[in-house]
C-alpha cells in the first residue's frame, strides 16, 4: 500500500504492508533510528514524534494512518549543527543519561511548550506522564523542560 508523507521537511512515498507501524517505517525504511521503541503497550513514550505538530506515539500508529501527514522526528529538531533550544536545555541540565528515552522526551516537551509556553513544574511533570525514564528520576528532565521554556522566549 502506498504511503506518501513528509518527514522532517522531506517528501517520501513508499509501498508498505498495512501492518507496518509508523515507528518501524521511520526506523527501518527511512533509517531515522532516533525514534526508539521501548514497549508494546503505548506506555513508555520512547517512540514519540510530532505528527502534524502534535506529539504522538509512533508505535501505536500504522504508517498507512500517517498518509498525507507531516512528521517531525528527533532528527528534524536541530538546525544543522545548532541544537534546538529544547535539546540545548537537556544538554545544559543533564536531562539525559543513557539517551534511549531522550528523543521521546524532547518531542513530548515540544508539544508541552507549544501549548503552554510558561509551564509550572507540576504542569511539566503532568505533561511528561506518558514518557518513562529509568535513569534520571525525571529530576533533570523536568529542569530541562523548564529551562527550555526560558530559552524559547
Amino acid at each position: 500500500m502506498r504511503v506518501t508523507l513528509t518527514v522532517n521537511g522531506k517528501p517520501y512515498s513508499d509501498d508498505l504492508e498495512p501492518r507496518t507501524l509508523l515507528a518501524h517505517y521511520l526506523r527501518d525504511t527511512l533509517n531515522l533510528t532516533g525514534t526508539h521503541v521501548g514497549c508494546d503497550t503505548s506506555n513508555c513514550g520512547a517512540c514519540t514524534i510530532l505528527m502534524d505538530g502534535k506529539a504522538v506515539k509512533s508505535c501505536t500508529i500504522l504508517a498507512v494512518q500517517a498518509d498525507g501527514s507531516e512528521i517531525t522526528t528527533i532528527e528534524g529538531m536541530a538546525n544543522g549543527g545548532e541544537l534546538h533550544p529544547i535539546q540545548q536545555a537537556f544538554k545544559e541540565n543533564h536531562g539525559l543519561q543513557c539517551g534511549f528515552c531522550t528523543p521521546g522526551m524532547v518531542m513530548t516537551a515540544a508539544d508541552i511548550l507549544q501549548n503552554n509556553p510558561n509551564p509550572t513544574e507540576q504542569e511539566v511533570r503532568h505533561g511528561l506522564e506518558g514518557n518513562f525514564c529509568r535513569c534520571t528520576g525525571y529530576h533533570n528532565i523536568v529542569k530541562s523542560v523548564l529551562h527550555a521554556s526560558e530559552l524559547i522566549k
Partner: protein, 266 residues
C-alpha cells in the same frame, strides 16, 4: 511487536464504511485513532482481517451546538474535547474527563467514538456519558439510531452496537454543575474507579466506571442524595464489584464510595 496481516481500507464516507462492515462482519474492525485497537493487534490478541479506517471521513470531527445540546463528533480526539471552548463552557465535566485519559500523546490521537465503542470497563468517558445522560448516535445498515448512554454499555467490552454500526457522534445535554473524580491505576493510568457527578438543584446523576464489568448509573446514590455526601454509602449497591491485582473487591467498593462522596461534595 507487529500485528498479524490485515487488509486496510480507508473509508471515504460513512455509507462506504458501513457497507464494508456489513460485508466483512466478524472479520472487520473499525479504526479511528487506533489507541485501543492497535496495542491489542500488536500483541496479536486481536487480529482483524480487515481494518476500516474512518478517520478521514468528513463531518465526524466537529464539536457543535445543536438544539441546546453539544454534539461531539465521534472522531474528536480527547485533546480536542479537552480544549474545546464549547465543551468547556457547556459540558465542563466532559473536558475534565478527557484530560484524565492516557497521556498527552494518547489524547492527541485517541477518539471519543473509539473509546466508547471499545467499552473498556476502566475507561473514563462511560461514567461521564452516563451521568450526563448523553445520547450515542450510531449509523448502520438499518439506518440511524440514538442510543441513550444507559442502554449503550452492556458488559465488559460489549455495547449495544450491532456488528455493522458505527458511532457518529455523542450528544451531550448542557451541564452546569458536574465533576469527574478519578482514582488512577498506577501502571496503566486507567481508572480503578471513575465517578462522574452531575448536579441539578436537589437531584444528582452519578455514573461510575472501573468498578464493575460494565459502567453503571448509581441509582441508589441518586435516590438517597440529600445534598450532602452521605449517599455515597450506596455507591456499589447491587453491583458485582470487580477484583484485580490493584484493587480487590473490598477496596474497590471503598474507593467507589470515597470518590462518589468527593463527587457529591464537589
Amino acid at each position: 511487536m507487529i500485528p498479524a496481516k490485515f487488509d486496510y481500507i480507508k473509508a471515504t464516507s460513512l455509507d462506504q464504511a458501513i457497507e464494508l462492515l456489513a460485508k466483512h462482519g466478524f472479520d472487520a474492525k473499525v479504526v479511528a485513532g487506533g489507541h485501543s485497537l492497535i496495542p491489542a493487534m500488536k500483541l496479536r490478541l486481536n487480529r482483524p482481517a480487515v481494518l476500516i479506517d474512518i478517520k478521514g471521513i468528513e463531518g465526524l470531527d466537529g464539536i457543535t451546538e445543536e438544539g441546546g445540546h453539544i454534539v461531539v463528533g465521534a472522531n474528536c480526539t480527547h485533546n480536542q474535547i479537552a480544549s474545546s471552548e464549547l465543551v468547556n463552557q457547556h459540558v465542563g465535566i466532559l473536558a475534565t474527563t478527557a484530560r484524565t485519559i492516557g497521556d498527552v500523546q494518547v489524547r492527541n490521537k485517541g477518539t471519543i467514538g473509539g473509546s466508547l465503542a471499545h467499552a473498556d470497563p476502566a475507561a473514563d468517558y462511560p461514567a461521564t456519558v452516563l451521568a450526563c445522560e448523553a445520547i450515542i448516535e450510531v449509523l448502520g445498515s438499518n439506518g440511524q439510531r440514538s442510543i441513550p448512554a444507559v442502554d449503550f454499555f452492556t458488559g465488559m467490552f460489549t455495547t449495544a452496537l450491532e456488528d455493522d454500526e458505527i458511532i457518529t457522534a455523542v450528544r451531550f445535554p448542557k451541564v452546569a454543575d458536574g465533576n469527574y473524580q478519578k482514582f488512577y491505576q498506577s501502571a496503566s493510568r486507567f481508572a480503578v474507579v471513575g465517578v462522574a457527578t452531575v448536579k441539578n438543584g436537589s437531584s444528582v446523576k452519578v455514573g461510575i466506571t472501573g468498578v464493575s464489568d460494565s459502567p453503571y448509573r448509581a441509582t441508589a446514590v441518586e435516590q438517597a442524595y440529600d445534598g450532602t455526601g452521605s449517599a455515597a454509602e450506596h455507591a456499589v449497591d447491587g453491583v458485582d464489584v470487580m477484583s484485580d491485582h490493584f484493587a480487590n473487591a473490598e477496596y474497590r467498593a471503598h474507593l467507589a464510595k470515597v470518590m462518589v462522596k468527593k463527587g457529591l461534595e464537589g
